[in-house]
């Protein structure tokens, strides 16, 4: 499948954005506990920054996804078929996710709820009370997870593409979204606080990186294993060996352009190594470094985000470039 920049950017950026929102929601869920903590104020600054950065990442991703459409001005129509279409569900979920996120962001901007106690004290301000509540945090995290789940299923539901229609895709999107969100959260913790990142976040980053790397390794192992049996596209296989001797057209057509992408597939091995190194190993090492050497946390987080997001971008590029479509069997492909 042809990797299109707009879609890769969409899934990577909005994935990180939803990851941030999941973490922000999670932090708010734990807010009462944080409030007792000495760092509560700072932690709530982190929540605000995470909401804000998440908003920017998610919005940039969604706008980018519009660039892939042939008729972007009709994009609103995509909200109608949520009963059958994962793409439509994703659109609906993405918009619904803005409700808790937007409300909470508004509350942040109003700047009145840096302490959870303050909100509970001020019973008249229903917006701030609602936005700072555990319920709102839970709703935000849940909606962000649902949106990521829908995004992943846009790909996972496509049976003609073996590289997408498998059990690794949905966990991959969820895990990598949360993981990249955590990298951003680490960066934001440095920016907002100019000091330490919570050790739990760093430990989380390390474990998510290990899990992500293992998941990708398992996925690639699945991809490299020959399919049990490539479908007999023409149905002529029962007669003998079928070989495509003449193509229907002399020039490239939409199908061969879109589904027959093979440029740089030969570099897949090196790119996979790059994903493992930049996407997972280096950020994990940097996080581990920050754990033992807290003074390095601020600059390490910048490197981790830059390198990690670059690695995940390559991962997403490979997700498309390595995927083969069954229609290419008609064009003489050996496997799909």
């Amino acid at each position: 499948m042809r990797p299109t920049f707009s879609i890769i950017f969409f899934t990577v950026a909005s994935g990180a954005g939803y990851g941030l929102w999941i973490l922000a929601g999670w932090l708010i869920l734990l807010a009462p506990r944080l409030a007792e903590d000495r760092n509560a104020w700072a932690a709530n600054d982190l929540v605000c920054a995470a909401l804000c950065a998440g908003f920017l990442l998610v919005s940039a991703g969604l706008v980018s996804s519009l660039a892939h459409l042939g008729q972007p001005q009709r994009a609103w129509r995509a909200l109608s078929q949520w009963r059958s279409s994962w793409l439509s569900r994703e659109g609906v979920a993405a918009l619904l996710c803005y409700l808790p996120a937007g409300t909470m962001l508004l509350a942040c901007i109003l700047g009145s709820w840096t302490s959870a106690d303050a909100i509970h004290a001020n019973s008249t301000n229903w917006l701030l009370r609602m936005a700072g509540s555990r319920g709102a945090g839970a709703v935000l995290a849940l909606m962000a997870i649902i949106t990521l789940f829908c995004t992943a299923n846009i790909y996972a539901c496509l049976k003609p593409i073996r590289a997408w229609h498998n059990r690794f895709v949905v966990p991959g999107y969820l895990l990598l979204g949360t993981y990249s969100g955590a990298l951003w959260a680490w960066l934001l913790s440095g920016v907002t606080q100019a000091s330490l990142a919570p050790p739990s976040l760093l430990i989380g980053i390390c474990s998510a990186a290990v899990a992500g790397g293992l998941l990708k390794l398992a996925y690639w192992q699945f991809l490299d294993k020959p399919a049990p049996q490539a479908p007999d596209a023409t149905g002529l296989g029962a007669l003998g060996n079928v070989r495509s001797v003449e193509q229907p057209h002399t020039e490239e057509n939409y199908l061969t352009h879109e589904m027959g992408f093979r440029i740089a597939r030969k570099h897949a091995r090196k790119l996979r190594a790059l994903v493992l190194a930049c996407g997972f190993s280096l950020p994990a090492l940097l996080a581990a470094l920050a754990l033992v050497l807290p003074s390095a946390s601020a600059w390490a987080s910048w490197f981790a985000v830059l390198i990690g997001m670059g690695g995940i971008f390559v991962e997403r590029w490979l997700f498309f470039a390595e995927a083969k479509h069954a229609v290419m069997l008609f064009y003489g492909a050996r496997s799909a």
Binding site: R74, R77, P160, G235, V242, E258
Partner: protein
């Protein structure tokens, strides 16, 4: 609405005879011609007269070679089994080697108007739909946002994206011909069927057991493409019939008549004159 309608009893579709298709592309050209001006048209090409023309066609005719035909009850099987490998051998008296147990098959590919088409259910806008009354799968090009997910969902390559129009386009089964009362009744067939010079394409109701197309499918063992994917295509392909193996034929070249052959006196004289 991209949710599928209840299965209809009427299932309009095509039956394509791979035995007699000669790969002339007349179906593809006739389709392009009709649909460029039809109700769903136009089908504009990018750079049509340039170095790299690029555009939407609803029909694509592939050509395949089938070699090593060995698992079928025919003369071909015996011929193939007699040799170690079913490769090139020569006809006696022929300077050209021909491959044994090999045949070419021309394979027109178009929308199969599946009964449970994923291209319809993945559509986020409702632009793709399956008609409840006859099962034809269509795209409402005024609603399509051009996300191309339906083309990804189709394993048969039935849908092509028009870069010029920014929407997805596909075979309409010539819905603007088959119900078109301004046409003569015998013309109310898809353009590809009308154009086929070998009558390799047949149009009809595959939901009706007694229709001509259903009988043809039953008689010739018509099959669906990639049924294991579960989309239940309506269109059927009729497999090529077993071929005779040319390498097993007796030489049929008749020796020229020699001079000794008795000829009438007049012819003998003409022969003598011409032989000087």
């Amino acid at each position: 609405m991209t949710s599928l309608p209840a299965p209809s009893t009427r299932k309009l579709g095509l039956v394509i005879d791979l035995d007699i298709c000669v790969g002339c592309h007349a179906c593809a050209v006739a389709c392009k011609e009709w649909n460029d001006g039809g109700a769903f048209g136009p089908l504009p090409d990018a750079d049509p007269y340039g170095a790299e023309p690029h555009g939407v066609w609803f029909n694509r005719v592939h050509t395949y070679e089938i070699s090593g035909i060995g698992n079928r009850e025919s003369g071909i099987e015996k011929a193939g089994a007699a040799r170690k490998s079913p490769c090139a051998s020569s006809i006696p008296h022929s300077p050209l080697p021909i491959p044994a147990a090999t045949q070419s098959v021309h394979f027109p590919r178009s929308c199969l108007h599946c009964e449970t088409p994923a291209c319809v259910t993945v559509c986020p806008t409702g632009a793709s739909y399956k008609r409840a009354e006859d099962g034809i799968v269509l795209v409402d090009e005024d609603k399509c946002i051009g996300c191309q997910l339906c083309a990804w969902a189709c394993p048969y390559g039935a849908r092509e994206f028009s870069a010029k129009r920014g929407v997805m386009q596909k075979c309409t089964l010539c819905v603007d011909r088959i119900y078109n009362e301004t046409l003569e009744p015998h013309d109310r067939q898809p353009a590809c069927v009308k154009a086929c010079p070998t009558r390799a394409r047949h149009f009809g109701d595959l939901g009706d057991e007694n229709s001509d197309v259903s009988k043809l499918v039953a008689e010739r063992g018509g099959y669906a493409l990639m049924p294991e994917l579960g989309y239940q295509p309506v269109n059927r392909y009729l497999p090529p019939r077993p071929r005779r193996d040319a390498s097993q034929l007796k030489p049929t070249i008749h020796p020229e008549p020699s001079d000794e052959t008795p000829m009438p006196p007049l012819l003998r004289w003409i022969d003598r004159v011409l032989s000087r």
